[in-house]
């Protein structure tokens, strides 16, 4: 009896295994995102963003006469998961392009595999510099951490005119690369960094740092984090009586940040790529349709994933083929207006686009200013 059950189980597993291999007549785009684990919220958003793009493209007739199919895998934000996933996407699902809707760890490992197999890979929002260094098949549609950090320096020193800054840095590749970029350009804009404090991605109570920052008496605070750390941080900063401007980055870019921080969120300014008040049709369109599809307001990771899929789709269209080499060339030569700006790649696969600064007004994100300095925002060439 048990033997029969075990046999049945094995047959079941085998058929599942082969079941996933069967392909219809679609063009497959691979997508890895953290659907479970600590980063599940970003995985969910980025997946929605990607799915919206696919839906919109398919509604207009697909690409080269075929429908696009998004093959989504959960990498739990882990490199050890993204490796077999990438191999599966390439070897079994036969994706023509891979897109990462995930964090830097898994993206970095996956990029290496896609490069080796000569399949184009686009990182939607992971910021580790080494991702595009994997090779000419890897691209990134969002800002490098350093680039955004430099923009932050201009925002504080130049646009806001504040000179004495305290940095509160998230201890991971995102926070650290932002900090590096900020420090690089701080002097250029007359900024003195009084102190820098670091915190871990799991922290939600910042009592000690807040107390110390208060005693430092800065003119402005440059704090990196995600909505689930920035929300509590900003709230606690304000509650302790600190009134100076707080400047963040795209990690804050979500309605959840405002929900968590409540009134404390008012006046917070971030460097990001999604302008809520934009009259650029691509952006306004995306924001409206995302909320219709997902049921909640769009955030940066969703917009980035949307952008990446749009880029991939257009490239496949322009290449008029599913040959990865031709698609790669098409991506490299592309110029596309998306929800997060005009996408054009340099030799390394990095983009040069404007930074949208957004500010919280009356409980919502709104346009604050734009930074379009090509020298400042220039990504590395190699």
């Amino acid at each position: 009896m048990i033997k029969k059950l075990m046999l049945l189980f094995v047959v079941f597993c085998v058929s599942l295994y082969f079941g996933t291999v069967w392909a219809g007549d679609t063009i497959k785009i691979g997508f890895n995102a953290p659907l479970t684990g600590f980063a599940a919220s970003d995985g969910k958003s980025s997946t929605f963003g990607a799915k919206l793009a696919v839906k919109q493209i398919n509604e207009k007739g697909g690409v080269n006469g075929k429908m696009l199919e998004l093959v989504v895998y959960d990498d739990q934000a882990k490199a050890s998961q993204s490796i077999p996933i990438s191999n599966k996407m390439i070897g079994q699902d036969k994706v023509v392009v891979g897109i990462s809707g995930s964090y830097s760890g898994p993206t970095r490992s996956a990029a290496g595999i896609f490069q080796e197999s000569n399949i184009p890979y686009i990182s939607a929002y992971a910021i580790h510099p080494d991702i595009t260094k994997a090779g000419d098949y890897v691209f990134r549609t969002s800002f490098l951490g350093e680039v955004q950090g430099r923009a932050g320096a201009k925002l504080i020193g130049d646009i806001l005119g504040k000179k004495k800054v305290v940095m509160i840095t998230l201890k991971n590749d995102f926070g650290k690369s932002l900090a590096a970029g900020f420090k690089e350009k701080a002097k250029d804009f007359g900024i003195t960094i009084i102190n820098e404090y670091e915190y871990s991605i799991k922290d939600r109570q910042f009592g000690a740092i807040v107390a110390k920052v208060k005693s430092d008496r800065p003119d402005a605070i440059y704090a990196s984090g995600y909505y689930f750390t920035a929300g509590p941080l900003v709230s606690q900063l304000r509650a302790s009586g600190i009134t100076v401007p707080v400047i963040g980055q795209e990690g804050y870019d979500s309605q959840k940040f405002i929900e968590i921080a409540g009134k404390a969120a008012e006046g917070v300014i971030i460097t990001t790529s999604l302008d809520r008040d934009s009259d650029v049709p691509e952006t306004a369109d995306f924001i409206k349709n995302f909320e219709a599809l997902a049921g909640y307001k769009a955030d940066m990771v969703a917009a980035s994933a949307h952008t990446a899929v749009k880029v991939a789709a257009l490239a496949i269209q322009k290449a008029k083929s599913t040959d990865p080499g031709k698609i790669r060339a098409a991506i490299a030569a592309i110029s596309l207006k998306t929800a997060t700006g005009t996408i054009e790649f340099n030799n390394l696969g990095e983009v040069l686009k404007d930074i949208q600064n957004q500010v919280v007004k009356n409980g919502e994100w709104h346009h604050h200013s734009v930074i379009s300095d090509p020298t400042l925002l220039a990504p590395p060439e190699k």
């Binding site: 599942l16 895998y73 959960d74 490199a79 191999n87 599966k88 760890g105 490992s109 290496g112």
Partner: protein, 281 residues
């Protein structure tokens, strides 16, 4: 064999080494280690750093093996001072300390980790062969130790430390040896992992990973080599088979862990023993 299958199998092979090595510490000597991943990490970082300055693979792997074993011995010395209940928590502390310290050191790559680890220079298939070679080696070594006089001593220590002492066994020495061997093997697994992913970050080697390895040993049946190997294969491949119920796979994992402990604490090895007995009886 496609790329996908090869990469899966390589991952399984590395985990087998990890689980078997932990089995030596926990299963043979009854010492619960919740910090095994730290030694996995020590091996990985050692190999990553040395390979980047040009050392060849056989030297780096050896270095990873030794580094983990040496630090394991030092940690093992602490385990001598505390007993059972404390040990679990102290080893948990080791897990956190490792990650906590590594992520602060720039020369270890800090948060960014170490990327661009050179290739092992072999084909993917050949590398799989190497990993499997080491996996089999660790299984054989475990089996040999179990069957030897050391194994008997370990058993005695696991069963009842005090009695073992009375019987003249140098309990401390055996515990330390088990620790040293287990952690060294974990270091080797770490080195193999570094060449496999070519990019390592501190978080990979934290407490959660330690628990993952421990659960492979527990589900397999602490002390049983065959059970542990089988459980490892099952637990590593499970996320692959269950991709279609993506959303629930961690839940399933938790339920599995819990159920095995609740209903079959001897683990899979106990389950198989039961099957065998049924057939005979």
């Amino acid at each position: 064999m496609g790329l996908y299958e090869i990469s899966l199998a390589t991952g399984v092979g590395i985990y087998i080494i990890l689980a078997v090595s932990l089995n030596m510490i926990t299963g043979y000597c009854g010492q619960i280690s919740l910090g095994h991943a730290a030694f996995y990490g020590i091996g990985a970082y050692t190999v990553a750093l040395l390979s980047k300055i040009g050392w060849p693979i056989y030297l780096t792997l050896g270095a990873g093996f030794l580094a983990a074993g040496i630090i394991g011995t030092i940690v093992g010395l602490t385990s001598l001072r505390v007993r059972e209940d404390f040990l679990a928590i102290v080893t948990m502390g080791v897990a956190f300390l490792f990650v906590g310290i590594v992520r602060q050191q720039e020369f270890l790559g800090g948060e960014m980790g170490i990327s661009g680890i050179p290739s092992h220079g072999m084909s993917k298939l050949a590398y799989l062969g190497l990993v499997l070679f080491f996996a089999v080696l660790s299984i054989l070594f475990s089996w040999y130790v179990k069957r030897s006089w050391m194994g008997f001593a370990f058993d005695a220590v696991a069963d009842d430390e005090d009695t073992a002492k009375v019987l003249g066994l140098d309990v401390k020495a055996y515990k330390l040896t088990a620790f040293a061997m287990g952690t060294a093997m974990a270091g080797l697994a770490g080195g193999l992992y570094a060449y496999y992913t070519r990019f390592i970050i501190p978080d990979t080697f934290g407490f959660i990973e330690s628990i993952t390895i421990l659960s492979m040993v527990a589900v397999g049946g602490i002390g049983s080599i065959f059970g542990v190997v089988f459980a490892t294969i099952l637990l590593v491949l499970m996320p692959e088979f269950f991709r279609f119920i993506n959303d629930y796979k961690l839940l399933l994992y938790g339920v599995l862990l819990f159920s095995v402990m609740r209903f079959a604490p001897e683990g899979l090895s106990g389950f198989f023993k039961l099957l065998v007995r049924r057939k005979d009886g």
